[in-house]
């Protein structure tokens, strides 16, 4: 027990003094996940809006697939990306395996269905209310989609925060495609796994605390956004 308490104190010290190793790992995690979430949103927003607004054959199937992909186990996404990027695989020529880019790709695969499906749902709900009025005003389908995206901005923000939360906490996919290489592809989650397996409880704890704080902050932001939106009837 005393070992644990000692480890806890060391952990707090590492955080307070902004230990460079710790900082490097945290910043890499944030960079990878923020980039992935940005890309996933750039894909997910228009995809979700298009699925809600445009009528085309296969629309229902595509929506169902998107919903199903929300439940894709992250480690499976990592496995698929790994197979694609390996030198023995079809995209090996890109030489992306074991780089942060590979981790971003894996996280994009995980987050895009979340953002896309939640965007689609938000747009569909809004469309139910707005459809007649917007068509009466003469809006084209594209104009309607853009209107819905801006009007649903708070729900979209919620979707983005949910995607971020899922990605920053993930360990399997980034381990497989990143290789957990020191100073290159070692994120908070993979570092916690490694340091624990080395018995370096102090560093693992420090990383764990930072990760917890980030997770709580994201959750608080989510609740804050909802309450703010409701106050102005923007929800």
């Amino acid at each position: 027990m005393t070992d644990l308490i000692e480890a806890f104190h060391t952990a707090l010290r590492l955080i307070a003094t902004l230990d460079p190793d710790l900082l490097g790992i945290v910043l890499l995690s944030l960079r990878v996940t923020l980039t992935a979430v940005a890309i996933a949103s750039l894909i997910g927003f228009p995809l979700g809006a298009a699925l809600a607004v445009y009528r085309f054959p296969g629309r229902g199937t595509l929506s169902a697939i998107l919903n199903a992909l929300m439940g894709l186990p992250p480690v499976v996404a990592g496995l698929v990306v790994y197979i694609l990027l390996s030198n023995a695989g079809p995209l090996g020529v890109l030489q992306l395996l074991y780089t942060p880019t590979a981790m971003i790709i894996a996280q994009v695969v995980i987050v895009t269905p979340i953002v896309g499906a939640l965007t689609r749902q938000a747009c569909e709900d809004l469309l139910e209310e707005y459809d007649e009025q917007l068509r009466s005003l003469g809006a084209s389908s594209t104009a309607i989609a853009l209107t819905l995206l801006w009007d649903g901005r708070y729900r979209l923000l919620t979707a983005v925060l949910a995607g971020f939360g899922r990605a920053i906490a993930e360990v399997g996919a980034v381990m497989i495609v990143g290789g957990n290489i020191d100073h290159v592809t070692r994120t908070m989650t993979t570092a916690i796994a490694l340091e624990t397996s080395k018995g370096n409880i102090a560093l693992a704890l420090a990383l764990g605390i930072v990760l917890l704080v980030i997770a709580f902050a994201v959750n608080a932001a989510l609740m804050g956004v909802r309450r703010f939106a409701q106050r102005f009837a923007y929800a």
Binding site: E129, S136, G138, A139, A143, T147, D151, F232, A233, Y234
Partner: protein
């Protein structure tokens, strides 16, 4: 925006060189939904300016008729002809509609009007002017920055109305606009409609409020079971209705 001296709207020939929208002719118009016939071989001709009220018991097809002539839904059969032209998207853009429940976007009151103008391709500078005019017309000039959905029901409906008017339509369609609105806002809206009519815009209003129809309408179209039962000047309709159904309706009875 609403200028009584401007070239007249629906029935003037010179609005942007496009043909006048009146008369509106509906020939053997039918609309079926879920196997039921909602509009049943309806014929109607509207050629006079002013406010036309469409009345009738619930389920008579009034709201559906409005949506058909606005182009929001397509008829099962029959013709919709505005000023000699068959109904199409371009004609629909020369109209504007106000719905029973105000549908406002999750933005400020001013932004709602601005957005609608943007959809019509109106330039930013012109938009700012029209937004200001519209808010003043509705008596909402102090509430422009408020989130639209936080306004009261009456304020929201007034906003919906001036949003429609800011588009400078030639025809204004309203579907029971004051059904859930407080009396003060109802009065404001009715005043606006009367002013609007004087600037040459043709107004077609669906209402179940007999008092409102008496106050506003030039002529009345009475619908029953998806057909036009009566169409005549308002005064005659209210004093000497020709059909049994209309008599029953005006007496406050249930028209089966």
């Amino acid at each position: 925006m609403l200028d009584p001296t401007a070239p007249s709207g629906a029935f003037g020939a010179t609005r942007d060189g496009k043909g006048a929208l009146l008369p509106l002719e509906l020939r053997r118009l039918s609309y079926e939904a879920n196997g039921k016939s909602v509009i049943d071989g309806l014929d109607l001709k509207l050629e006079e300016p002013g406010i036309t009220a469409i009345m009738g018991p619930n389920g008579a097809g009034k709201s559906v008729l409005l949506r058909l002539i606005h182009g929001l839904i397509a008829p099962t059969s029959g013709e919709i002809v505005w000023g000699g032209q068959r109904m199409d998207r371009a004609l629909a853009l020369r109209q504007a509609m106000v719905f029973q429940k105000p549908v406002l976007l999750r933005r400020s009151a001013a932004a709602n009007i601005s957005h609608a103008l943007g959809l019509r391709g109106i330039e930013r500078s012109e938009r700012a002017i029209r937004v200001g005019d519209a808010l003043r017309l509705a008596g909402l000039e102090d509430l422009g920055a408020m989130p639209a959905r936080v306004l009261s029901g009456g304020e929201q409906q007034r906003l919906s109305l001036v949003r429609a008017l800011s588009l400078e339509p030639e025809v204004l369609l309203l579907d029971e606009p004051t059904a859930s609105v407080d009396p003060a806002s109802t009065l404001a809206i009715e005043k606006l409609l009367i002013e609007t009519q004087h600037s040459g815009i043709k107004i077609i209003i669906v209402t179940h409020d007999i008092g409102q129809a008496r106050r506003l309408a030039q002529d009345v179209v009475f619908l029953h079971h998806g057909r036009v039962i009566e169409h005549e000047p308002a005064k005659r309709f209210f004093t000497e209705p020709r059909s049994e159904a209309a008599r029953c309706f005006l007496a406050g009875g249930l028209v089966l």
